[in-house]
Symmetry: D2
């Protein structure tokens, strides 16, 4: 098997740490460089490498870069590296609107667009779950127009990054729970809208996105209230979802059982469940999606994309 | 001040423990009996009492009973005690539909109905927050008809009681999060509907209620998506809420700041915040409510009701 | 009752927040100033005050200062305020060795030394539990010389303060547990040694102190392995402890039941339990102590000291 | 590679679940039966099997049994299965004193005794860490006689099993911490003593074992206070440990850095660190050990033992 040299940019954040962990078991990707501005010179746990500064990575010795730098910096680095002939998966939000020709990489939705590409924007954690949950329903024509989909989401704290901020101290988060960036103010809202529009092949359904901060380390649960067209049922929703994801290694369609974080944490899986809603005049469906924000919501999906870019088996190094 | 003799029925559950704690500091209520079937004969921590079995409470020596027995048993006990001439606050769901003439006790909504009554059904924890959050909006005519209010709620684990069940073990709950009884299947749904109807003075608005289980000990957060009538605004919602709750000791109207569990845990307060929603055609409001399920959602409100029943100052023993 | 004007210096740290909460219910202390360098101008939750900078507190209008500034700054401020004629409780470690004539304030051990004083150094959280647990055993002559007392302690994360540091993020602390400053390297070690020496009336017993960081918000548990003199027993230890603390409102002697954090969190109590040790040649005793690091370990004890300084009832404002 | 048929007895407990997870990736062990008395007939998540009752496992079709039944039942089943010609790893405490000829299996200490055996008693979680931490020190003659080693241990809640008990509910454990079975009363004490004696080749050093219950799901940390012989140093302890475990895949000798749960959770590793102790007359060493109670403390070590029994590479299926 071909071996490719990898650089992980921003390797001491939660996403970077997860990438380092996944790459240790990858049969064809060899981590050669891991960067950290603050810990340059320190050893990289579980490897024989030492962190270097991002500017000190010799791109000529690198085949593919995973860029997990802060939003704002990451896209600039990725674009430059790509222009220098290196393949890039950018995990920030900088290139997700297609900047610099980047392909938006959710394999289960747009696999053939990713295959063989050289610059891929890895999706946000919240959008990954929303788009994978709603795509089968939209494509099957089950979602009623003119009414918003309500998306009530909750994420573990690692989603906020590993930078020291008072609001994410253990003493602030434990035994607490709160909404934030409510009312479509979250920076993932345009990404969600663009993704839904692409799935719909035109105008996206309206939606309202409300993230909450959970006192857990990792995991996202998204409870979506989906208005259905007349005559649609929860059975049709389950069937459309099952049918679309047959054979997908990382999608678990649970039928009328609802997923919990425990079903997906530490894996690259997205679990999807549906429930009917009683007592309302217009038909409504609950669609609940769970994923690990650091794996399928970041590092795992990034490796899945890299596998498609380089011609590896899509699950290489990721496990089940 | 008059002193009344109190019996707490079911004193070793989470609600019962909280009642025992509150009653310790009450100027006019003296706990004389605390019951536990399993721990009868054992000392009641922080008091000089010992637990007795429920059947062994001499009702002739009791002025007021707080009944926290399991749903099903509690109402029967309460009805019998009431017929024997004892005042009763029943904390189960058994009498909340008005059985045996019980008054439904949310002081901030129906204070004068509770005052001087002898049998009060203490509301459920989820309904307390929902009704207090939506009442000002409904009364002010801000809620649009014909569309459901989506109520996405999350509760700490003590809401599930203190009976040993595998699903509530620490090993199952920590680092997990999930929906349950989704799609209007929760047993609080009829109580919510009845309460909303009473507030509306007729037909209740449609609603969808989805509770989730949080890995915290106590606290409820309810994120409500409220369809507004044309021309209504978040400002009007804040104003209606502030106006209705002026002078209420236990309602904190936070304006366009959203509450978190931390704001209310270990207190009898309900905190209410509002947020506008961008990017949707029909006007929509977020109304987020937080309360402690064991205090304002159970034991604290029960003492508030008892104070109204007996003529004490409404805040006696409860603190702020 | 006399009313005294209070300034809380460093009111947005965990200790400061706890002081603000306690002072709200104090019958004779009125918080007039609360300082925060970062939040100056912002409202102080639950009051009508706004934070001011420490340098802007008009000491002439203040009767007593609670100084919770960072170690290093706090002592200098306290000394200057005291010289300006203001009474001071300093909660940092700066004055605990008696600097500037400060009295070391553990009321249950040295009550009469604190009464009426004008400058008191509030003890550290770890030493408070250790000294209160070991004092009865040392005074009763039960502790064997020549062998160290092993003190294995664990503290909730608020003990590390509210400054943003990566190592105290929720993502780092949840599901983790570790020792730190092991082998008598913790900055409380000299304070513990001095306190034990004062109790012993001469040379302190040797000890080894190993703190650990618990994934809880608050609470300290200290498991102490105490070598006993020949003929001593766990019964004698319980008896000595019970005898010394008879009538103390904040000491709970549990006998041969061992305390847990749950017994003391959110209260000013110290709970002390003892257990015999089987299978060892030389007699050994386990002495386990629990307290809330923010209450009896900081803010609660500070108010207890202030009450003694000002002539209030010792429990005023603190509750049980 | 040879393929062996496996039965997991008691597959819905925490240890059983972990075994099922590990076996999924094992190249030579194929899980054919998984038992559960309560869930017989239900599907085994992530497999195509259904749970059967223990009595319904056809032993003639099984090559090796992992018995995770409750203490008391497990040994009887294992002995009978072994007599029927099946290889057995028993994970209960029933056979750890050598009953029925069972070999006590800690590969890093007694690898050659396990290789090729047909009946192995898998060690307890606490003893595994203690014996692996102390063995190098005892063998190198560094531990002083006549004084007890103090072992202060803390374990995550899964160590208490998955049976529904009130004391292990989330509402009881979260934000709590306590000692239990203190003073050498824990049922692992004889196993620890026997293991230390075997290491010492005669009389074991005295020890005092105090377990505590941590509010985490998994992981054990053991802080050991080790009296040293005159002239011994922390450097000698590190050196002895490093030397003994050179080349061991699952032992991480950290030198004078102390391990935390985070270093080992979800792995089969034991991490060992040492620290000097200042301020005491007689030389003393801190030895801190961390491991995952469900992996190296149970299921992972069981597969390690099975690999030795069957002639597989010792790390097969376990990962790093």
């Amino acid at each position: 098997m071909n071996k490719y040299s990898v650089a992980v940019l921003g390797a001491t954040g939660y996403t970077g740490l997860e990438l380092v962990r996944i790459l240790r078991d990858h049969p064809g990707l060899v981590m050669r460089f891991a960067t950290s501005e603050a810990e340059a010179g320190q050893p990289v746990r579980g490897t024989s490498l030492r962190y270097v500064k991002a500017a000190d990575v010799p791109l000529a010795e690198v085949d593919i870069v995973f860029a997990c730098l802060p939003h704002g910096e990451s896209g600039a680095y990725s674009t430059a590296a790509h222009e220098a002939g290196v393949k890039v998966v950018d995990l920030s939000s900088d290139l997700r609107a297609g900047q610099a020709g980047a392909e938006y990489g959710i394999p289960e939705l747009w696999r053939e667009c990713v295959r063989g590409k050289t610059l891929v924007a890895n999706p946000g954690c919240y959008p990954t779950g929303i788009l994978l949950g709603l795509a089968p329903l939209i494509r099957a024509g089950l979602v009623a127009g003119g009414k918003p989909v309500m998306i009530d989401a909750a994420s573990g704290v690692t989603g906020a990054g590993r930078t020291a901020k008072r609001e994410y101290l253990f003493g602030e988060i434990a035994e607490d729970y709160r909404a934030y960036a409510a009312g479509n103010a979250h920076r993932h809202v345009p990404e969600i809208g663009a993704g839904l529009g692409r799935i719909a092949g035109g105008e996206a359904p309206e939606f309202v996105f409300t993230p909450h901060l959970l006192p857990v380390r990792r995991g996202i649960l998204e409870t979506m209230y989906v208005p259905l067209v007349a005559g649609a049922s929860v059975g049709a929703a389950v069937e459309a979802t099952r049918s679309m994801y047959t054979g997908e290694p990382y999608i678990e369609v649970m039928g009328e059982t609802l997923p919990s974080l425990r079903d997906v944490v530490n894996t690259n899986r997205v679990a999807i469940g549906h429930a009917p809603v009683a007592g309302v005049k217009d038909p409504l469906l609950l669609c609940v999606v769970a994923l690990d924000n650091l794996v399928k919501g970041a590092a795992g999906q990034a490796v899945q994309n890299a596998n498609l870019m380089l011609g590896f088996e899509e699950t290489a190094g990721i496990g089940r």
